[in-house]
Structure formats: C-alpha cells, structure tokens
Symmetry: C2
DNA sequence: TCAAATTATATGTATGTACATGTATTAGTT
DNA sequence: AACTAATACATGTACATACATATAATTTGA
C-alpha cells in the first residue's frame, strides 16, 4: 500500500518529509506484524527483543544496563520488561557478585526453548514480509544511515 | 551512527533483516527527536499528529473514526488522545447531528495557534535532521513501498 | 415495524515509553 | 577513613498502545 492510501493524505511538504512519515509508518507496520506473530507464544515484541539480546551471551548472564544499550528503542524500561519475563520463568534475576548494584539476568531453559521456536517464526516473517532484494536492502540501509547522519 | 554501533550488534542474518531493524531504529530516533522538539509546548507527538489531521479539514469538524484512519499508527486510541487535547482546550468535542453515535472534533482557536507554532518547529526539525537529498528521499520512499508490498 | 446485526465511541486492563525520583553500592577525593 | 559524586537498578506517574468489552445509535432485513 502506498503511504498516501495508508494515511489518507496526498500532500507532503517535500519528498524528505514524506520519507520521514514513510519510515514511521513502515516501522509501525513491521512492529504490528511482528507482534501478531509472537502473540500465540504470549510474548510482546519488546520481551522477544530482550530474550534475543540475552541469547547473544548465553549461557553467560548480562546486567540490565548491557541489555538496555542493545535495545532498538533506547528508552525502553528494561527492569520492567524483565519483571514480566521473570514472572513467566523465561529469565532469572540475581545480584552480581562483582558489583552488588548490578542485577544479572540469565535465560532459563524455558526461555531458551521458547526463543528457539519464536526466532524461527520471526525470521520467517522477516523473510516473507519484507519484499526487497538483497541489493535493495543494502541500498535501504545506506540511505537510512545517511539520513541519520546528524544523530547525536 | 551506524546501526551496528546503535544496537551493539554486528551479525545480521542478511541485509533484509538488517534493513528491518534499521527501519525500527530510525523510526525510534525520529520519534524521539520529534517528541523532544514538541515538549516545550506540552504536546506529545501523537497529540500533534491529531491536531495536524484536524487542521487538514479546519474549520470543518472531523469524527473520531476519520481521524483514526489517518493516523500513522493505526492502533492509536484516538478518544483518549482527544481527551487530553480537550483538557488543554486545544479541541472541542460535540455530538454529530447527522449521526448521534459520532463525536465530532474541532480545533479551537488556541489549538490552531499552537499548531502553527509547533508545525514551524516540526518542519524545521525534519529539514535539518533528515540528511538526504530530494532524489535520495524519493528512492527511500520507493524502497519502503516495495518493502511493504505484502501489506494486508 | 421490530429484532438482530452493525457501527461509533468510550472505557477497562495489561504492557510499554518517557522521564523523574529513590535506594543501595561503588568510586573518587581529600 | 570519611565524605561526596557517580552508577545501577527499581519504582512512581503520565501518556500511549493493543486489545477486549460495553453502550448507545443506526442500519438491515425478515
């Protein structure tokens, strides 16, 4: 669907302005299909993101701060997301012996198992939903990174 | 900043997968700078979006449903956003005489004024933050729309 | 014409975001 | 060593999202 149809608007200030809205809309669309796919496993897409990050270090633990700085949405409130994962026994919290201020998070066996299943689903979704060639994806990545040049 | 630095991850399944994450990250970044700019006016970026949509029809009114289907994030809860705008006297609610189920929303003079000031700020932000040429923006729009081809 | 289905909006709940503040621990300075 | 600053995390609050349900008005169709 064209952006014009999606947000029922035909006039944009310029192509750059339209690109901004197009990125926001595409991100919403992507998050939504993603969340949809995870729903049957009782995971939100942020919870999935945290599990994925933990997997990267598994079986080592990670502290909350290290998880936070790997999140796509930097202002995510990791302790709260971990709360929910802990209730579902997908992760375990413990106090760091190295620095007692740190809370160390570790995937449980259940978490690891659920992650394997959902990762398969999620990867399939990415492959089937995102209709660009490898070359186009590369181009898209370059454009997005150029666009973000002034990032602070 | 490259995506790799932003989310401290170097391995991606493929370029398409990376593009997906890149879109999500760029959208977060954009929303954040945007919200930052609106903060001094006491508006959230969703509230601004609703005001913008209302402006499109001003001085006519719009019903909640019409606003909703123009939102970038379709699952936004428009009645609740309108609640907050109404408290700040930026919009006015009234029951439609045409169909009493409908709630008609209209910008107030205060809303219109605030919108003018914030629109200027927002447009400046878009122009200064999004570092792409007109040609690149056009390319980006095409790629995003190709990517979303399978949209339902 | 009237009961049933549909529609428009409001509202409840769980989760997440954005930001401020509180608490415990560690690091740094003198 | 003791005081101060910084750090890591938890938690409170306001707003937003995602989805389910409630309520009232309108439309449909038997």
């Amino acid at each position: 669907m064209k952006l014009e149809q999606a947000i029922q608007s035909t006039k944009f200030k310029n192509e750059t302005h339209k690109a901004g809205l197009n990125i926001l809309y595409t991100a919403w669309w992507l998050k939504t299909s993603f969340s949809q796919a995870l729903k049957e496993y009782g995971l939100t897409h942020e919870q999935y993101n945290v599990l994925r990050i933990l997997k990267g270090k598994h079986p080592e633990q990670m502290c909350v701060r290290d998880i936070a700085c790997r999140m796509i949405e930097k202002s995510s409130n990791v302790p709260r997301i971990v709360d929910r994962l802990e209730i579902k026994k997908l992760v375990k919290r413990s106090v760091s012996s190295f620095d007692k201020r740190e809370t160390m998070i570790q995937l449980t066996a259940a978490g690891l198992l659920l992650l394997e299943v959902t990762t398969k689903k999620a990867d399939e979704l990415f492959d089937s939903q995102l209709c660009v060639t490898d070359e186009e994806a590369k181009q898209l990545n370059e454009l997005l990174e150029k666009l973000r040049q002034k990032e602070v």
